[in-house]
């Protein structure tokens, strides 16, 4: 029971501060589930991110379900997933009617003008941190380079990129 409450509260905290889309949440999720609670290893964290990219749905839901199941079974998965959406759920309902007025207030705009570049910084930090876990030898750097080329220059679909990377992994290791 204690584990389930801890999962709920931790993912509630993650959900409450997740701005700027799934990738911007990665440093926050990593900090909580790897560094603070040691629920998964840094490698498993990267694996969860990869799995999230290949399955439907928001990365926050995917991570909370995965980590929750890992830690406390199906109930843990449910508690973590409810935790990650509860704050925004309540805010949506409270603000549904009033939002149109709040949206155009200068103060709201100023705050988001500040948060927006920070979320880009958070995404870059995620790349750095995941790079530290993932780049272990020249082969891994080679794979990252090839996949980057395919995604960025040839506009390959990310899922296909991950499948190819798995094939490279099987061939090279």
């Amino acid at each position: 029971m204690e584990a389930i409450i801890k999962l709920f509260l931790t993912f509630m905290k993650i959900g409450a501060f997740s701005f700027g889309g799934g990738l911007a949440m990665l440093p926050l999720i990593e900090q909580e589930i790897v560094d603070v609670h040691h629920w998964v290893t840094p490698y498993e964290f990267v694996d969860i991110v990869a799995i999230s990219e290949m399955t439907p749905g928001p990365i926050s839901i995917n991570t909370s379900t995965f980590v929750g199941y890992r830690t406390a079974g199906v109930f843990g998965a449910a508690a973590a997933s409810i935790g990650v959406v509860i704050v925004s759920f309540v805010l949506v309902i409270i603000l549904a009617r009033r939002f149109i007025q709040i949206k155009d207030k200068p103060a709201t705009k100023f705050v988001f003008q500040g948060i927006r570049p920070a979320t880009l910084g958070l995404i870059m930090s995620a790349a750095i941190s995941i790079g530290k876990t993932s780049f272990l030898d020249w082969k891994s750097i080679l794979i990252a380079g090839m996949i980057f080329f395919l995604l960025f220059k040839l506009k390959m679909h990310p899922i296909l990129g991950i499948v190819l990377a798995a094939a490279f992994g099987i061939l090279l290791y």
């Binding site: 399955t55 949506v92 870059m124 750095i128 996949i147």
Partner: protein, 183 residues
Amino acid sequence: MKERLKMFLTFFKIGMFTLGGGYAMISLFEEEVVRKKKWIASDEFLDIIALAQSLPGALAVNSATYIGYRLFGFTGAVLGCLGVLLPSFISILFIAMAFHKFQSEELVVKAFSGIRPAVVALILSSVIKLSANFSKTFFNMTAVLLSVLAVAVFDIHPIFVIIAAAIAGYLFFKGEHSNGSDH
């Protein structure tokens, strides 16, 4: 009751097909909710997306909650939210069960050794895509640099970075706003 079930199933379907992040699903939502079912007018839809983006949390979940609430009140919000997140909840649950069993198989270990560096490539290519429509002002560049340093080098908790950025944005742009509108 029938209408509520229909909404739940529509969001379940959207949840099943949202691969690759929230933005991919905006067009799916629009197709289903605005064009086919005509539940929401297209200008209100834009407001919903703006609200969903401004609040913390996933874009898809926030939009589904709002649309459900608009149509059927609190029950609608619960149904909308559950509908859009159940597909990923169920699929990840099965993957987590399987992953536990196959995690130490040699082939899986090798595959993930290849997948991990690819995740870096994936994130970097979205960084570049995102920076393309990002104005390179002094404030923006400083905020990006400081938040990278704070999290990646000084190991500061991302929550503090978000709060600090919000305060900095408020103070900086408020100052700029009042300087620019003295007339």
